[in-house]
Symmetry: none
Subunit: 411 residues, 2 copies
Amino acid sequence: MKASIVTIGDEILIGQIINTNSAWIALRLNSIGIKVHRMLSIGDSREEIIRCLDQEFASVDLIITTGGLGPTSDDITKQTLTEYFGTHLVFNSEAYKDVEAFFTARGLPLTEANRQQAMLPENALSLPNPEGTARGMWFTDGNRQLISLPGVPFEMEVIMENEVLPRLERMYASGALVHRTVMTAGIGESFLADKIAEWEKNLPPHFKLAYLPSPGVVRLRLSASGYDAAALNAEVNNLVEELQKIIPEYIFSLEDEPLPKAIGRMLLARKATLCTAESCTGGYIAHLITTIPGSSQYYKGSVVSYANEIKENLLGVSNNLLHEYGAVSRPVVEAMAAGARNLLKTDYAIAVSGIAGPDGGTVEKPVGLTWIAIAGPEGIVSTEFRLGNRRERNIQRAAVAALNELRKIIQ
Amino acid sequence: MKASIVTIGDEILIGQIINTNSAWIALRLNSIGIKVHRMLSIGDSREEIIRCLDQEFASVDLIITTGGLGPTSDDITKQTLTEYFGTHLVFNSEAYKDVEAFFTARGLPLTEANRQQAMLPENALSLPNPEGTARGMWFTDGNRQLISLPGVPFEMEVIMENEVLPRLERMYASGALVHRTVMTAGIGESFLADKIAEWEKNLPPHFKLAYLPSPGVVRLRLSASGYDAAALNAEVNNLVEELQKIIPEYIFSLEDEPLPKAIGRMLLARKATLCTAESCTGGYIAHLITTIPGSSQYYKGSVVSYANEIKENLLGVSNNLLHEYGAVSRPVVEAMAAGARNLLKTDYAIAVSGIAGPDGGTVEKPVGLTWIAIAGPEGIVSTEFRLGNRRERNIQRAAVAALNELRKIIQ
């Protein structure tokens, strides 16, 4: 099974937006055994959309498009696809209720342009969008299928996860299909691949392994296809047990859950509380922790001490330490962790201080240098990290590394 | 003049790499008046490359490719293009000297595979690569031109800047293409479209308007094509001035910059400092502010007061207020803002308290209810927002709304 991914929108062609949707969709399709043949980005033009579909359907039976479903006049994907598949737009009362509810919940009036979002092609499956007003559409014409999704990444992603992937999996998996995700942190994709090369090489032929990397975390997704789900599950269990023996220190979960959620689980099990003291990560660790529903059960808060005076006045880091060692140093990050634990009265405290860049680096302390400390009932552990040159990436990597340092202590 | 951009490489099709080259090239081509017709990503396959070039040359006279120029066996772009343009590979002694120098400088031995990098198509212009061993190649066949560049971004970029863009500019300097971005916040895409419908309808035919929405912010991009860049710029200026009269309260910048960057600019201009006190946003506002390089010049830090005791103990919110009104209320969020401004000694303080969900909502205070306060030298302003049901989205929207509330005061 092969698919093409088509992103529609002038904003991509002028280079104002980097197309991340295609890579996201490709990873997900790959994980259920669908290969991506080509990716295309085209403009908001009826002729270009039609020409592109003709070309792609010559090679593949499945096309996924994103973009052009908004309520404004430059959004022409819905009309063009409706025409392409020889159907027409009809009023969908379910979709209308959703659009109405969407605006009511936000206390906003419903405009005529928004009402149009409930006009959907008669002969296409409409795919609910819990995050927006543009439903996805699934057109079928003989063997040919086209799935049209909104261009806003989180809207596209939720429709893919809820509606598209489960259906595709049912359609193209002949027998049983079993997936298992093993979450790893603290090791890069290529090093991980080296460490488990033997194990990977010995996977039975009906198994497939995918590496899904994100900053600081690599998800290993094991997929097995066959006829007997119970037998497949047993096989998967054995393989995962073997894997746990090879890389025990990097695995933080056998469920598909983000690191902050796994940490929340561990803290709850220990009835322990957490706070953070952040300098270079600027609140990003607190954000990662508080994206998890229910995090208020174990997370009390953070002091983002961006200025040194906040480190001194709130966290009680002594002026002497700051002067003698500098803000990015083991003594200061340890004092930050101890100070935060004391101030916010928690069992554990994470502290981070580093040079995110692009400025502020020196020969001795280059951009990317980051100190992380974990204070807990058993004392303080601190570690030095040398990250990269890019500010945003350094913030991300430092935050995930800090969570992983805590995980090593409480797991 | 129109061009297509083709990225060649299996790693893109499996979603492992996000294609940033296409956007980079598109921005640069646009800046010299060349419009991008389509972007494609295809695999390392001779047949796919040939099919793709045939398709694109049916619509454009210029194709820029990246990728597939490395020394390993999966890199087949050079051979395929040489065949496509009916020429053959010859030894290029200049290129060989460069390859030799490249390895000598790094103290590495020269392998046979590396020597092959000096074999280049006879009838193509070869483009020196100061950052690597794969030269760019510029094929010409009648009106058709194809420029092949390495896939490593910094190698591609240096060849574009040094060799490709100056030549293209000399060749195609006839037309002009002008873009202008107007950044708006605090109004949804469809409401914005309603407000500026008349203005949009009266745009001259050589103008195009695009709405680029992201959470809380809508970018309006105006593009004009013609022959005289100065005249186009004057026209754009007039249209933007008209727009500013229609929606002055929503426009925060006439540059393509994120809201936290615009706020940083405004604070620096006022020599003012900022801090934050975050409950439901859990550090996300601090994160948005500190993604901007140099934010330490105006941003001092944050108290993420996730637990009520932190609101009391650090921010000095009285226990009475918390009991009488609840944490999500005007009196408490105002006390948080005043407390943070006092504690962190800044000119302005942003405070947010809300119910992000999914739990914690009541009939009186449903999920999505969010209070935002801005404390400044002139006093405290607070506003109630009713956001949606999804936790992550509520955090994002509350953070952007909070930044926008500050913007309204300091702009």
